[in-house]
Symmetry: C2
DNA sequence: CGGGCTGTTGAATACATTCAAGCCCCGTGG
DNA sequence: CCACGGGGCTTGAATGTATTCAACAGCCCG
């Protein structure tokens, strides 16, 4: 059963390691509405540069936000991916969520004035940064900006509703299936490939997030593969029978997002 | 081990069923900031009545929001409690969250224009209703209102971060312990009794939410009781050793909210 | 007073974890 | 360029834990 193939399912293996990560265009970025308000489409297109740092690179393993740091900005993932976690008494980390291109990071820091968790890049990534201390440059456009922000926050609240579905599942099979579907739905939301994609996180991270042992996650992937529901090669996944996966997850007729 | 006592740990059993539920004062309600903007403390105190319906009663089992309904308002729990759920393909319901006095319901419906899940009262409750279609009466106060709303949304995003801690836990003991702590923290947040309280939801609901069997939840409660960590009599709970419960949950030094 | 619902308890089964080993990929250094 | 070694991932067998099935107790309601 060990794959003889490389850790990529692309036709040109070597090239794939050089290939750029998925990048969201501004139009499908969660920050877009706010960027637009800030001048992207306005007569003063430079205004945006005062509050939005664009496409800042982040190296793998680097922290964009440290738990407990003072709130000052929110980030949009432009390319790559991130995990957020808290550190437990034991020193172990508990993964809270993953973030993918187009999604916003740091919103939960706004109300309390500090970020509740650490945000770490899972791969070479890039982010746009929106500086909250400079919002005054928006002047009377602030109201429109706020509306966009409210929308982004509400959207996020809605997405968070996936979590109980993920975790509330009784068994490992359901949880793993739902996890894959939630990833796929999140990718689709921002017009990224949602059937055949790369898992940016390790099995260890997935297990941590799902509350399972690493070995169990591995076994579930193999089980799904043997059922022809998907194909796994290392971190590359192709969903072959999404409907069947939805049945296993028990979600069948619940719409994502 | 069966309790000989009634389903209440209060000195005057009969009276307790007549006793009013916990009620939050406006000052510790999640809607407060918005109410204030809307005129609660302003020269025109009646303005608020145009957009906020106050203390509307809700009977046990009654739905405040039906899944899929068009978004139009948000609710603040004034007294009582609610559960939200989605209905799965099988017809089973998956509980998404519980809501307690002072907390806001319906925020996730804002971005998409419809509510993603059903909201049902677990007991006789009351809510304040904020009508979004009438926000124009706020005039130039809208900006301030939006700021309050943003704050509420961010707070909610932060609270949602509890969920992976709840569910990401490997075993039933940790999950149950974390569940109790999260309830306690949510009560404390709105200045309600957080050490000795009544679980408004059934064991079945708890099990559904935590992804455990009902029997397991029951056994965990008994186990904690035998360890002198808490006292349970039916739905009444008193946390006797919160620190020890935190240790079991593995949260020890993570701060709530 | 009886029936149904909620919650508890016990025993057998099924499931996930743990422990242990090995493979593959990839980067490092010879 | 190849050998070595480490980390990530998979696989197998034994243990432990949660679920399932079954039964019963207490409470609420009619």
């Amino acid at each position: 059963m060990h794959t003889k193939e490389r850790d990529t399912c692309c036709p040109t293996p070597r090239a794939s390691s050089r290939r750029k990560n998925n990048v969201v265009e501004c139009e499908s970025c969660g920050l877009y509405g706010m960027c637009k308000v800030a001048g992207l489409d306005a007569p003063v297109p430079d205004l945006i540069d005062e509050i939005v740092g664009r496409r800042e690179p982040v190296a793998v393993g680097q922290n964009v936000i440290a738990a407990g740091a003072t709130f000052g900005e929110i980030y949009a993932v432009k390319s790559g991916s991130f995990k957020t976690y808290v550190t437990m008494a034991s020193g172990e980390q508990q993964i809270i969520d993953f973030y993918f291109p187009g999604e916003l990071i740091g919103l939960e820091g706004l109300s309390e004035g500090s970020y509740p968790h650490t945000v770490e890049a899972l791969e070479a990534s890039s982010v746009c940064r929106l500086d909250f201390s400079k919002l005054n440059v928006l002047g009377e456009r602030l109201g429109e900006f706020q509306k966009q922000l409210i929308n982004a926050l509400s959207k996020r609240a809605r997405q968070d509703q996936w979590v109980p579905l993920l975790m509330g599942a009784q068994n490992a099979e359901q949880r793993t299936a739902t996890f894959l579907l939630s990833l796929s739905a999140r990718f689709a939301e921002h017009e990224l490939p949602s059937v055949r994609f790369k898992l940016p996180m390790s099995r260890h991270d997935i297990a941590n997030y799902l509350g399972l042992a690493v070995e169990t996650v591995s076994r579930m992937f193999q089980r799904f593969q043997s059922m022809d529901l998907l194909e796994v090669h290392g971190r590359h996944v192709e969903l072959r029978d999404i409907d069947a996966i939805r049945v296993i997850a028990g979600l069948n007729n619940i719409n994502a997002t």
